[in-house]
Symmetry: C2
Subunit: 393 residues, 2 copies
């Protein structure tokens, strides 16, 4: 039977990373292709104790329907936390709990974009959100990055020439896939463009808490005097991705629209998971937990960075992230990145081809993404040795 699918989903494909991840389940495969937290990063003991206590004392609240906005004590705890970083102003913002950080970006797209309206993203950018924007038939346009983040002059040119630019999607901290951090100056420049050209910014910040070197840079949200920044965060990288708990802070008019759209989608996020996050935030030393995570990722990053330095030819450009989960490698001009990635998989090391992160996947790329959070220490070294040998050939 031939189905009459909607225009917006006709050409939508599962993410290329998924296809690669399927191959990584082969025995003996070293996977640098995931974006998962390290297995030893989960606060298992605490979650066990909290869950038992909730199901002992308050089972009906954890199992019954709840409100779309989210579990009120968790909302309050997240608001307070964000207010401490100038990412939430109680007088001018509201906040809703989402089913993971990605739902925040997906719903922001839904509430703003008619089909054909323009959304601009960093090129490269996070494939999950790019696909979310595609699923609304957005006119998705990429703007190139340098080491300070999205090129502001190129952004301005793009805003001037593309139809109905309503949203710019940014991952300022330890960007996926590049690992880059946007400079304070660039954040200000892009925010000023938002005011000048009347667009809103989705500031997606799943990795902000995972800074293991250098100094924090104030968020774009903290610069926002006009209500143009939609700040999305997540507990996926700092508590558990399987729980699917994220949040979004923005002007109350924006949060009201997101709330209605979330209500018609999943009604509310899993309530037990929200209660667990709340208690981890308020009854445990959450800062100490974050410091523990940073310690893990600092160590894992330095193992991979050293193994790259020891094994990769100097012609391969490599980013030096100060946090997050990813390193971005770029082969010299004239290289065939896709052929290299295929050979790497044949030699049992999986990385993600850079083309997966482009607004137009048919464009060419000489880059690939490597993840250092999921592999074991031994895999980090061994995998880089294998890649280094292939690169030198």
């Amino acid at each position: 039977m031939e189905y009459r699918f909607s225009d917006k989903v006709l050409s939508l494909q599962p993410s290329a990373i998924r296809e690669i991840l399927k191959m990584t389940s082969q025995p003996g495969m070293i996977s640098f292709s995931a974006g998962n937290p390290a297995p030893d990063a989960f606060p298992v003991e605490q979650i066990r104790a909290i869950t038992a206590d909730i199901l002992d004392k308050d089972p009906v609240a954890a199992l019954q329907y709840s409100i779309t906005e989210g579990y009120t004590p968790l909302r309050d705890a997240v608001k307070a936390r964000l207010a401490g970083k100038n990412c939430f102003d109680p007088d001018r913002d509201d906040l809703i709990i989402t089913s993971g950080g990605q739902q925040a970006s997906e719903l922001s797209c839904k509430i703003f974009l008619n089909e054909g309206d323009t959304l601009i993203a960093e090129e490269p950018s996070f494939i999950g959100c790019l696909n979310a924007f595609r699923s609304y038939n957005a006119n998705l346009v990429g703007v190139e990055m340098d080491d300070e983040g999205m090129n502001a002059a190129k952004l301005e040119e793009t805003v001037r020439t593309q139809p109905n630019v309503k949203l710019v999607y940014l991952i300022p901290n330890f960007q996926n896939p590049s690992g880059r951090c946007m400079s304070a100056k660039r954040r200000k420049e892009i925010y000023d463009l938002a005011c000048k050209y009347d667009f809103c910014i989705i500031e997606d910040d799943p990795y902000g808490e995972l800074r293991f070197a250098g100094e924090p840079i104030p968020s774009i949200k903290s610069l926002d005097t006009e209500g143009r920044v939609i700040y999305a965060g997540s507990f996926s990288k700092v508590i558990s991705p399987g729980m699917r708990v994220g949040f979004v802070a923005a002007d109350p008019k924006i949060i009201a629209k997101i709330t209605v759209c979330k209500q018609v989608s999943d009604v509310h996020s899993n309530i037990l998971a929200q209660m667990i996050c709340h208690r981890l935030l308020t009854e445990y030393d959450f800062e100490a937990h974050l410091e523990h995570l940073r310690e893990i990722y600092r160590r894992k990053y330095s193992i991979m960075a050293k193994a790259i330095e020891d094994n990769f030819p100097p012609e391969v450009e490599v980013t030096h992230p100060e946090g997050g989960l990813f390193i971005w490698c770029t082969l010299p001009e004239g290289s065939d990145m896709l052929a290299f990635v295929k050979r790497a998989i044949e030699h049992k090391v999986a990385v993600v081809p850079g083309t997966a992160f482009l607004e137009d996947e048919s464009k060419s790329s000489r880059s690939f993404r490597m993840n250092f959070s999921t592999p074991t220490d031994e895999q980090l070294v061994k995998g880089c040795e294998i890649l280094g040998k292939l690169l030198s050939e």
Copy 2:
């Protein structure tokens, strides 16, 4: 600041039920307006034991990222269960776990409808899904019901006159809000129309397991030889709505599109909740649990039905559901239903005005919905006494 929201969400409002539910939190309010399972219907002991065991033996699997399609053992268990009811054919169907049953309907709408395409629903119908369809700017058209379900002749007329009818949304078992069950004959007539006029059917079945009287009627899915029926189910009414676990079975091409759209929305559903549902289905006597639920609702229904009979004037028409959670009452011609609902709330009894369930909420209705699963036995009697007194005035 004036935001340039998308056309599809501009006029989208939070559900009217929500606004009523807010009032029901007033002290002393008897609420017949919810759709929640009875608090004593949750298998708390089992969930406690299963959760402790999972977090003891397999914490990383319960906390890490998982696959969009859902937890494989749960998918297999649900497929087997549905196959036993001829709602799943392993040779021709596929199945995905969703974040509650509503996500199945929402994503079905997204994958099929361009803005302006027509979706037909029973009038009245479930407000959550009506709002989901509105959120894609569907041309939402209601077709009236009788005691056997949606009027098939009116449906055919509507299909012939409306543009691009792609989907018909039905709740054949113990419909929300009417409590009615669609007859086997009507199911067949409507399925035949789907084949004749090339549309698909969303068969939403959250209440099918809650039959407390009469004989089960085969699903529309069980009649489906062409791949036209999208069967949506949920654990919300039989395990826990707070967990947000549902599922949808359909042709693999449809499931593939739903999977991509779910992936870009919430990546996957909460994994611990999926593991809990799996173990309740496979390691406990799930049939005995369902029988226990039916017992609870049979009793609660009969208390409310008797209280209605004892207290309501005979001019008020009342449905006699054989399952589910709702009774639908219709006032005599010339009555002002909204004025009655307001007075009822002033007298501390909340019911949901029928207008909330219309495709066009500005149309008039003489009906209101009453829920018997959530109130206590005493509240069921007391509330009906108060309503009866108001109705007689």
